[in-house]
């Protein structure tokens, strides 16, 4: 009989991520629902903006439109990620195992971040080609890596806060509703930062870099505070 080894949070963390990836590759539930939803929103944007007239500059509101897609798309994925754990009592199996609660949080949050980033990899170029690439000024604006940084910091906050709130709401009757009601207001400071930062890069007006870094500092600060809060609160949220 194999004796238990000393518990390793890193090994447990990797196991949770690997399990989530294997299950997602097999079912494609989260990626399909998130991807299709994002595509549908782009179609709605296209129809709405095609009525706006030739002089309308989509670039002025592009960052807001883009982040709106990701915020609502992420809600679909966040709900699914915890429902998987709850469905067959698997969360209880994790909770009675010798695993620190923050390890569960970081495992689930990193999985959610990964799936959101995968959707973004497909949606961002598509968004660019549909709404910005066809315009007379088809440049991104500022450097692409700045957009990537904004996307990463925004997604990190979405995954972190979203995983905490999805865990809180998974035991409630109206989990979809409760997650949405809590998530959007809590995300407001982050949304403000990443929309303003992304917009600054897309518009690339004089002094945009200073605005961008200011907004990224706000986003990074938000992520740090919220991730630390989630780390501290996760055991309480799980109720064990």
């Amino acid at each position: 009989m194999a004796p238990p080894k000393r518990m390793s949070g890193w090994r447990q963390f990797k196991a949770i991520i690997r399990k989530d990836i294997v299950m997602e590759l097999r079912t494609k539930e989260m990626l399909t629902s998130m991807g299709l939803y994002a595509l549908l929103v782009l179609v709605v944007y296209y129809i709405a903006l095609s009525q706006a007239g030739a002089n309308f500059q989509v670039r002025q509101i592009a960052a807001g439109l883009l982040w709106l897609v990701f915020i609502f798309t992420s809600l679909l994925g966040l709900n699914r990620s915890l429902v998987h754990e709850k469905d067959q009592g698997c969360l209880d199996a994790l909770l009675i195992s010798p695993i620190d609660r923050p390890v569960i949080f970081f495992g689930k949050a990193v999985g959610n971040l990964l799936f959101l980033l995968i959707v973004e990899v497909f949606i961002v170029p598509l968004f660019y080609f549909i709404f910005l690439g066809s315009q007379s000024n088809a440049d991104v604006g500022g450097p692409v890596w700045m957009i990537v940084l904004a996307l990463f910091l925004g997604s990190l906050g979405i995954a972190g806060v979203g995983t905490l709130l999805a865990t809180m709401s998974v035991n409630t009757k109206g989990k979809d509703f409760i997650l949405a009601v809590l998530f959007i207001p809590l995300m407001f400071p982050l949304l403000l930062a990443v929309v303003a930062g992304t917009s600054a890069v897309l518009l690339a007006e004089p002094g945009y870099a200073a605005v961008f870094w200011q907004m990224m500092a706000l986003a990074a600060g938000y992520d740090t505070v919220m991730l630390l809060a989630a780390y501290g609160l996760y055991e309480f949220v799980l109720g064990a």
């Binding site: 194999a2 067959q88 698997c90």
Partner: protein
């Protein structure tokens, strides 16, 4: 970690209460259980059986009183205790979109087992699922799920096993297999089982406990129990209502 001196005691429950708002799910529960014993917990719906099991298995915390499992406090030493206990529930606690082997591999990683492949193979053979090890769990019958659930619970060689209505929904053949699996590991483990099935619970147990309205109505060694009297006491508790 706060080990007690009474190492031969598997469970020491003192004045244990658990409230949910104004409702008392457990009310000053007290009993001791020796190591290697098999405790069957009976009681009507809402008597507090599952809450007691949840407190003992560290899934929820007591509102008052203390519970020590294998000498470890269920609150202060919860992480250390979790390394030494297993849970078999009427819920399989398995991921349906992973294969039998992948499920056990996942939990082997969570328990940080060394040589998990060898242990997993050994358990899959024991629960007669070796031939289905690569199949997704969602394709399994209820009996197969329960057998795999037993393999999951035994993976890290726990010293105490909590069983929450393990026979619920099983056909007679699956019940026989579960009986034989419990018999195989019976000697090396302490068992705590919640059950509605009086005859099955009494057949397996060395100690029996009846809960009603969250309080202990009866706690006795099996040898001192007359089955008819016990059944009469149990029937009387059903009329006492929920906690």
């Amino acid at each position: 970690m706060t080990e007690t001196n009474s190492t031969e005691c598997a469970l020491e429950v003192r004045g244990l209460s658990r409230t949910f708002g104004a409702r008392k799910a457990l009310d000053k529960v007290e009993f001791d259980l020796p190591q290697g014993a098999f405790l069957s917990i009976f009681g009507p719906n809402g008597a507090g059986k599952s809450t007691l099991l949840k407190v003992l298995s560290t899934l929820t915390t007591p509102s008052k009183g203390t519970a020590r499992v294998l000498g470890l406090d269920v609150v202060a030493d919860a992480v250390a205790l979790r390394e030494r206990m297993g849970l078999i529930s009427h819920n399989p606690l398995l991921y349906p979109d992973l294969s039998a082997e992948e499920n056990l591999e996942f939990f082997a990683e969570i328990y940080c087992l060394e040589n998990p492949k060898e242990r997993i193979r050994e358990l899959l053979v024991a629960v007669e699922l070796d031939h289905r090890r690569l199949d997704l769990v969602r394709t399994f019958s209820r009996g197969m799920l329960q057998r795999l659930s037993i393999a999951r619970a035994l993976l890290h060689a726990p010293e105490i096993i909590f069983l929450d209505e393990p026979y619920s929904g099983l056909d007679p053949h699956a019940m026989d297999i579960l009986d034989s699996l419990i018999a195989q590991v019976r000697e090396q483990h302490t068992f705590v089982m919640v059950s509605h099935d009086l005859s099955k619970g009494l057949e397996l147990c060395s100690h029996a406990l009846i809960l009603a309205k969250g309080a202990v109505v009866l706690f006795e060694e099996r040898d001192n129990i007359d089955a008819d009297e016990f059944a009469a006491t149990y029937r009387a508790t059903v009329g006492m209502g929920v906690a």
